[in-house]
Symmetry: C2
Subunit: 430 residues, 2 copies
């Protein structure tokens, strides 16, 4: 891995470079995505089946788009018991973490009869998208479904692309069942997003679509935003390790590569105050790459977006971490909790040398669907919040309104909204 001195110009170039991976810069796919959305909106199932044949090489129609109980049973037969046991342990941790995010309605009443409050309601029906493609991600299934389940969503519709044999991967299916998906439909890509946003003869419209996917899925989600709600738009995976001389170079190198293996646009960055660590990590990554099955992807990813940045001070390193706002941030320094308190922007923060990033991907409990591409400055991990919405509650008594009615009328008049003023006034006309 290249080692660079961290200065203003390195940082500026790096930030600009990382943003090249933004879905904002894939305008050339927009027309294609829009066509898929419009076709599904207008022609429903028919368009969906035709896209599934085209993109997934699978023959799907109204008779087999819904995964049956038999298929689920078959899937259970194909999954190793030991893996099922691990999925169940992981699920328990994910449920227990997300349960702490639950929010509740509240009300306040005053002696004059005024009641103000906030009513919290779960969304009624949501769609979770689970990608197929290059690899199979049962962990994503758990991470998508659990927060919706904890929030109290009544209907959780999962969609995932079928293989050419018209089947869904058995591990994906078992994970969906374990996590509590209501139904699973065999549809993927932008056409799946269209189905969830508009509904077809086979599949009903949902209120919100969550889950990561490729660039077509990301653009489709952005296009339907507002018509339905979506979670944040996922970009390529990222890790930033913030480390000083106390860090173990072998662990740091292994963790950088764990994200680099996702795809060639993934980014793996070490920011360190120790030149010795920088050099050792660079050597260790070279060694590891030779032994890893996805070594080719890793090498390309590191060539594209891998960096070791040598910082003058811990403060400069922290500032850089805040500016990059990485999806995953590992803190491996002398006093990692103090450093953590200075972190403003990161999707998930891993503290200390035994908090390796994949621990969060699979097991610890917090969600692994996280803001990418600098959006941790304003977006949050997928959470129970995503599946709750709020309504304000206002109840005034005659007594309470009488005290302030002239104020409200005057305020409305100042905005020249005379019918607003009138609606208060009529209640106190003699």
């Amino acid at each position: 891995m290249r080692i660079e001195k961290l200065d203003e110009s390195t940082k500026k170039n790096l930030l600009a470079d990382l943003l090249k991976r933004s879905p904002d810069n894939y305008g050339q796919y927009e027309a294609g995505v829009r066509e898929i959305l419009n076709e599904v909106k207008e022609k429903g199932d028919k368009a969906v089946f035709s896209y599934t044949e085209k993109f997934d090489k699978a023959k799907i129609d109204a008779s087999n788009i819904l995964v049956t109980e038999e298929e689920v049973k078959e899937a259970y037969g194909q999954v190793e018991n030991s893996l099922l046991a691990i999925i169940r342990k992981s699920l328990k941790n994910i449920e227990s973490y997300h349960a702490k995010q639950m929010q509740y309605s509240w009300f306040d009443s005053k002696p004059d009869g005024t009641i103000l409050g906030q009513k919290v309601t779960a969304l009624r029906r949501v769609g979770v998208y689970v990608p197929g493609g290059k690899a199979v991600y049962p962990s994503s299934v758990l991470m998508n479904i659990v927060p919706a389940k904890v929030a109290g969503v009544r209907e959780i519709i999962m969609t995932t692309p079928p293989g050419a044999d018209g089947k869904v991967n058995p591990v994906t299916l078992v994970a969906a069942k374990e996590a509590g998906a209501t139904v699973v439909y065999k549809v993927g890509g932008a056409q799946a997003i269209a189905v969830l946003a508009y509904g077809t003869e086979s599949i009903p419209k949902v209120d919100k679509i969550t889950g990561p996917g490729n660039i077509y899925v990301a653009l489709a989600k952005k296009a339907v935003y507002g018509h339905v709600s979506i979670d944040s738009i996922a970009g390529p995976s990222e890790i930033l390790v913030l480390a000083d001389e106390t860090a173990n170079p072998r662990y740091v190198a292994a963790d950088l590569l764990s994200q680099a293996e996702h795809d060639e646009l993934a980014s793996a960055i070490l920011v360190t105050t120790s030149q010795e660590l920088a050099q050792k990590v660079s050597l260790e990554t070279d060694e590891f790459i030779k032994t890893l099955s996805r070594g080719e992807i890793i090498q390309k990813s590191l060539d594209n977006y891998g960096h070791i940045l040598l910082a003058d001070s811990l403060e400069a390193a922290i500032d850089t971490a805040n500016e990059i706002a990485s999806e995953h941030l590992e803190i491996v320094t002398k006093d990692p909790f103090t450093v953590m308190t200075k972190i403003r922007n990161a999707g998930a923060i891993f503290i200390g040398e035994y908090s390796s990033e994949p621990l969060g991907d699979y097991f610890a409990g917090p969600n692994h669907i996280l803001p990418t591409n600098g959006t941790a400055k304003f977006f949050s991990p997928l959470s129970v919040d995503d599946f709750l919405k709020k309504s304000s509650i206002i109840s005034y008594s005659r007594e309470a309104l009488e005290v302030v009615h002239l104020d409200i009328e005057k305020f409305a008049q100042a905005e020249q909204l005379t019918a607003h003023a009138n609606s208060i006034k009529v209640r106190f006309d003699k």
Copy 2:
């Protein structure tokens, strides 16, 4: 107002009709908005000044785009003391309500050394858009700024279009100052959204843009979503009154008109179980329209999207309210709190005959920036939540990781992510 029987076909037509007002259906403005966004992104200030001259007929440049302290002082001189006093009372209520929405970081630690948590951080810099145009809305200024302020946002940048004289309305300016805007810039429309999303020489980029605006503002916000965060996209105003025979027809009519006066796309709907109330409300609205200054807009709005729906039962009326998911919902029935518990979808719920909708617009405390156009099914009122974001915290001890390390490795292997497995494995290699 027209009186219709509430049945499935009336409801279906009405729902389709209301959705015609969605920003989804204004594709013809998209190209224009995109051009403004691109021009500002590429040419910065220069493009902004030229659009401001074109659309607002105002000569604005780097020397006067920022509202000065002198202009603020001048504005205070032009605002009646009695109005200032009302703004301050209203502000106090808004602050007190929003303070209850604050969320805090939490951490949990286990005996094995595991620490899991959620860090809550305020956004660093946000942009609030305040429309100018047909009327002046100081109340919107308060509603935009207070939740950001309560959340702890350090920099609140407000933008609002200048008049042809290059000045901002004094009441708007005083409201901004009172609520705690850091700075106010004179720029409006899609170009203001572009400035806030990309930054120019005069104005820095923000993390999130909130606040309602016209169709150009709505489309621009949707286009920059993902690059920055936005609040929900505002559509035309809406009221739905759910009432039985106990309601006062004069109050109901006045409240319907208070929303109809906003613009010709606003929607005002009464759903009632009482034929007598339906007829009386229809007569009362005719009477009020004659006396109100915005009678012409009101009449057009009622012709377009005004309805009195006669329901067979209270249950049918409640179901309809949930399906329409109105921005504002008034409940004026025998047992309004029981009805409220059955409401799933509404931006703000006003309970009982003294909770007139404008009370919420101006004074009670809850936010008046609310989800419109059926989006109350998945969006919430603007709140402190909008200005906070979360990072997960994961810290495992060696002891805790050792117990589960084989499980995690196996899970990663099942996803064929061998570098993920490796990063856990290296920590326990002999």
